[in-house]
């Protein structure tokens, strides 16, 4: 490959990484939540709260790290509300999740009123010593902010947790058959609480990435539907972390490549491209219901259903 093509491709790949990272965070959290049998449709709302609170704290304290942690805790706080309502009071998970999104849109807008119009420098990139000096690859792989590196670690950790740890096995059991897990003495509600909180933390970090690194500012409703794409992504990935990572980069890549196609003057209807993640998800949903054996094996059997030990 000649150097001219490389100087073009590297920045394109860098923008794809930036577009995919928030999707990875929000979706990997939701994947674990759904694996425990809980469907939290409030991802968008949790992301927004993460975005506004991380931006506020980073702006006031000047500490990016503190901002990220605040975003994480804000997402967890939202998830806690959801968990209490659905797990304790056994309200409908679908309705509660939708309400959480609407609540998040409103409350983040209220909290963010005094933050509008404030600029923030953004998360600093971390140059990994030696490696970041490698031509091309160094720029592509070893010059990102901490959240980009973290997203890969997180996906690997979730995969390892689900496939290779006893706790992961318990979580999957809770998601597939809470009655059986309960009968074996596992604390179904507690497991689901922890999973939901983890999902909230990831959504919060995803929001923090948006307001601190992706487009470092606060504006109302700045997630612009990425929480919904993350939800679609979990289904698209058939609840497998590896496929989820692939899907996030695919969805992110489609977004960026269609922008490039337009700038090159290639006439692709951009509306069609915006639609693609959802079309892909519908196709996967159809495949799931067609092929019960292979794909359905990964889907948590009790998803969306409330559990009570005396049922």
């Amino acid at each position: 490959m000649n150097s001219e093509a490389l100087t073009f491709i590297v920045p394109v790949l860098l923008t794809i990484i930036a577009a995919a990272t928030p999707l990875v965070y929000a979706a990997i959290g939701e994947l674990l939540v759904e694996k425990s049998g809980v469907l939290n449709l409030g991802v968008e709302g949790m992301m927004l709260l993460g975005a506004v609170s991380s931006f506020a704290v980073a702006h006031v304290s000047g500490s990016a790290l503190l901002g990220v942690f605040t975003g994480m805790f804000a997402g967890m706080a939202m998830a806690l509300i959801f968990a209490f309502l659905t797990l304790h009071l056994r309200s409908s998970q679908v309705a509660t999740g939708l309400a959480l999104t609407i609540f998040g849109i409103g409350v983040s807008a209220l909290m963010g009123q005094s933050l509008i119009g404030i600029a923030y420098a953004g998360l600093p990139d971390i140059m990994i010593p030696v490696l970041s000096n490698i031509p091309v690859l160094g720029k592509l792989l070893f010059q990102h902010n901490v959240l980009v590196y973290g997203s890969f670690v997180l996906v690997f950790a979730v995969w390892w947790f689900l496939q290779h740890t006893r706790a992961g096995l318990v979580l999957r059991a809770v998601g597939d058959s809470p009655e059986a897990a309960h009968a074996l003495g596992y604390p179904v509600i507690r497991v689901r609480y922890l999973a939901t909180l983890f999902g909230g933390a990831c959504a919060g970090v995803s929001g923090a990435y948006l307001s601190m690194a992706y487009a470092p500012m606060w504006v109302e409703n700045m997630t612009a539907g990425r929480g919904w794409i993350a939800l679609a992504l979990v289904v698209f990935a058939t609840w497998q972390p590896g496929r989820l990572l692939f899907g996030a980069y695919l969805f992110g890549g489609i977004t960026i490549l269609q922008l490039h196609a337009q700038a090159f003057g290639i006439n692709v209807p951009s509306q069609l491209m915006s639609m693609l993640p959802y079309v892909a998800t519908i196709v996967v949903l159809v495949l799931i219901s067609r092929d019960r054996g292979r794909i359905r094996r990964n889907a948590p059997a009790s998803i969306g259903q409330a559990f009570h030990p005396t049922k």
């Binding site: 930036a18 119009g117 600029a119 700038a263």
Partner: protein
């Protein structure tokens, strides 16, 4: 608490507006003139709705206790809008500004039932005895920034981030391109459509895409400061949209096209107080200050400032028209002869690109 302290008053207003929109009528002081606003977005969008709300605040600053203003934000265009407008009309408002194109039919419909209430609809074309329309000639601003872009670009590629292919946006692209090529016939415009008025992430991606493809000047017809922020980060320059965005891009912002409704809103409110209000159609631009500019950025060379000022002054004294011939279409054929210019009617329905814009217009 920094987040809540300054917001209590606004929250109270928002709650009052919310209560109104739910149908519970508030008690109105009879001698006060009440002015209502319906916004399509949140006041915090830092763009379109934000500037309308600054206009509302200008009314409050001008008339103080003689006037009471109300706003209802994030009102969806459609059935919801009619309900909100009707509630404002029946709760004693004397003057109601409906600030989005999609409010046109509901505004006219409600106005029929409330002949004594005055309505002002932004960017529409349906009028009645108690319905006036108003809009800004933002394309005039695009002639100014197009001139600057033509002089500033070294790569001769200028990136344009566009929202939806409607005449308002297409008109802006064409006005920009015509002005740019008057000063730099080699320069071309690359357009990227993001299909949103407001998606900071996607707008930022679009800006980076254009910069990666060689653009060294970026302009936008979307509402967030994200493209300008991306320009700042990558060391290229651009223009603010709807409001002054220099806080986000102190080096990158050359200037901005600012929507300034303040004077218009104050004037129309005064007309209602004086009893001189009548229906009209206003399409004002730089000359009346409805299209406004902040100070030039620090990096703008003197000759570029001078050239931009020539365009501004020409528009004000009438010697310059953004769509003055000769104008060529993308095929290079002359569509407007020298000495002629495109009429307002044609501008309102513009649906083609002029020479110098790359790609084809999405249908």
């Amino acid at each position: 608490m920094f987040v809540f302290g300054s917001t209590i008053k606004k929250t109270a207003i928002a709650i009052a507006a919310g209560v109104l929109s739910l149908g519970a009528m508030s008690v109105a002081a009879a001698d006060k003139t009440k002015v209502g606003f319906v916004y399509v977005g949140p006041v915090g969008d830092h763009g379109w709705t934000y500037r309308h709300d600054i206009g509302r605040q200008a009314i409050e600053a001008e008339f103080g206790d003689d006037v009471e203003t109300t706003f209802v934000e994030s009102v969806a265009e459609g059935a919801d809008a009619e309900r909100v407008i009707r509630n404002l009309a029946s709760s004693g408002h004397d003057l109601i500004f409906t600030t989005s194109f999609g409010y046109m039919n509901p505004t006219v419909k409600v106005a029929k039932d409330f002949p004594k209430v005055k309505f002002e609809h932004a960017t529409g074309y349906k009028r009645a005895d108690n319905v006036a329309t108003y809009s800004g000639r933002f394309y005039e601003g695009r002639s100014v920034i197009g001139t600057m872009a033509g002089m500033m670009t070294k790569s001769n590629i200028v990136g344009y981030i566009a929202s939806f292919p409607i005449p308002e946006v297409v008109r802006g692209i064409n006005a920009f391109t015509i002005a740019m090529r008057r000063v730099n016939p080699e320069a071309e415009v690359k357009v990227v459509w993001v299909n949103s008025w407001y998606d900071p992430g996607k707008e930022s991606d679009a800006a980076k895409t254009l910069i990666d493809q060689g653009a060294d000047v970026i302009t936008q017809h979307t509402d967030s400061p994200a493209p300008l922020q991306a320009a700042q980060e990558r060391g290229v320059v651009g223009f603010g949209q709807a409001s002054d965005m220099s806080a986000f891009a102190p080096d990158a912002q050359l200037t901005a096209i600012v929507d300034n409704w303040d004077q218009y809103y104050v004037d129309r409110t005064r007309a209602v107080i004086d009893g001189t209000w009548s229906s009209q159609d206003v399409w004002d631009g730089i000359a009346t200050g409805m299209v406004d500019f902040p100070e030039y950025g620090a990096g703008v060379p003197d000759d570029v400032k001078a050239a931009a000022d020539v365009i501004k002054n020409g528009i004000i004294d009438g010697s310059f028209h953004s769509f003055q011939g000769p104008i060529k279409n993308q095929a290079g054929e002359i569509i407007v002869d020298e000495g002629e210019s495109i009429s307002d009617e044609e501008l309102l329905g513009m649906s083609y690109y002029v020479e110098g814009v790359q790609g084809s217009l999405p249908k």
